[in-house]
Amino acid sequence: MRDSISIARLGIPAVALVTEEFWPQGDFFATSSGMPEVPRVKLPHPVAGTGEDKMAEVASDITPSIVELLSS
């Protein structure tokens, strides 16, 4: 989250992939960094350690939202 905010500060559109467990922390970081609308895509929690099949499924599910958030 903090990396995508620093990259956005350099003028590059950025999106952070954040799992649902960490969404509230993301809200907090976004607000306290002065970028409450920082673009984020929500993933189920956890992703890492759930196995290759699950990771592939999540990747397919979220790619359209990523593309949508990065373009207007």
Binding site: F22, P24, Q25, D27, F28, F29, S32
Partner: protein, 368 residues
Amino acid sequence: MSLLDAASEHDALELLHDLDCTDGLPVVIPTADRVARMVLATGYEPDLVLGEMGPMHGAATVDKVATAAVMAGCTPDHVPVVVAAVRAICQPEFDLTEMQATTHCTAPLMIVCGPARHACGEIASGFGALGPGHRANASIGRALRLAMINIGGARPGSSDMALHGHPGKFTYCIAEDEENSPFPGLHTTLGYEPEQSAVVITGAEAPHSTFFTGDRDDPNSAESLLNVIAMVMANPGSNNVHLREGAITVIMNPDHTEVIRRAGLTREDVQEELAKRATISVGTMRRINPMLFMQGINADDKSRFSDAADEDLIHVLKDPSRILVLQAGGSGLYTMVMPSWCAGPHRNAIVHSEIELDQACEIPGMTL
């Protein structure tokens, strides 16, 4: 500072609980009068900024810190230690923003050194000093936590992501037992004069008990004691073995420091010996956490360890000065080892700040 209205002190407490401004326990209500008196005890202007507290980047002004001290139940005598502690943890080397936000359980352990142990307390250094029953230890440590919650904005599950936390996140404050210790004051090793006072702060897990029975007739007693402490420092589940180069606190009881004294060892000797002995084998790391170990949390792990033999040893830390060694606690069989988080841009470095005594302004109606 803004004011909140409540019909009574009872309602005010409920309001502070509802606003997530407490640690879950009742607090002393920070009325304007109480806070004003606490500000006077600091000797500073209320709007002086002591530092910026992450992760909210809150301004730790003297009046907000005094508010935390009032809520925690501090007396004016305690507040110089709270002010020094806030200054210490706001130093960039402490990585407060990352530390408050981490999923690891870590809390600032405050070690009070020098005359302030008596002048600001009595801050306990003996039996049960890290447990209940010591007002100064309890209130001072709690004031720092309330500042971290309310000024730093660390709230469980939204900005403080510690998976479990630990009880030291309520309060975690101890004094060094300087008078009975074979070592010089811990603060003097950090450049302070013995007559100065300082608070030394390290991010720490809960104390891990280390059992050891000394034997006056055994010439290898000190050797055995150092070995067992080093083994606890290299506990295979700890962040210290996975991330390495963090800090470790070793609080020895008077019987254990006596073993060290009889062996003719200084604090620096103990630090060096522990750094040398606190190791884990590459084979153990491969077995316990192959993915983390080989992918490498530390950037160079993969290249360093991919060809290493199973019996090769990894040192938990290279720099002996990252081991804080001091005496405190009652006389007996146990030394306490506090592992640490070891992450953050500066590896959550050990920080310290002078405790300024004799700064207090006169408080109306109070004899100082």
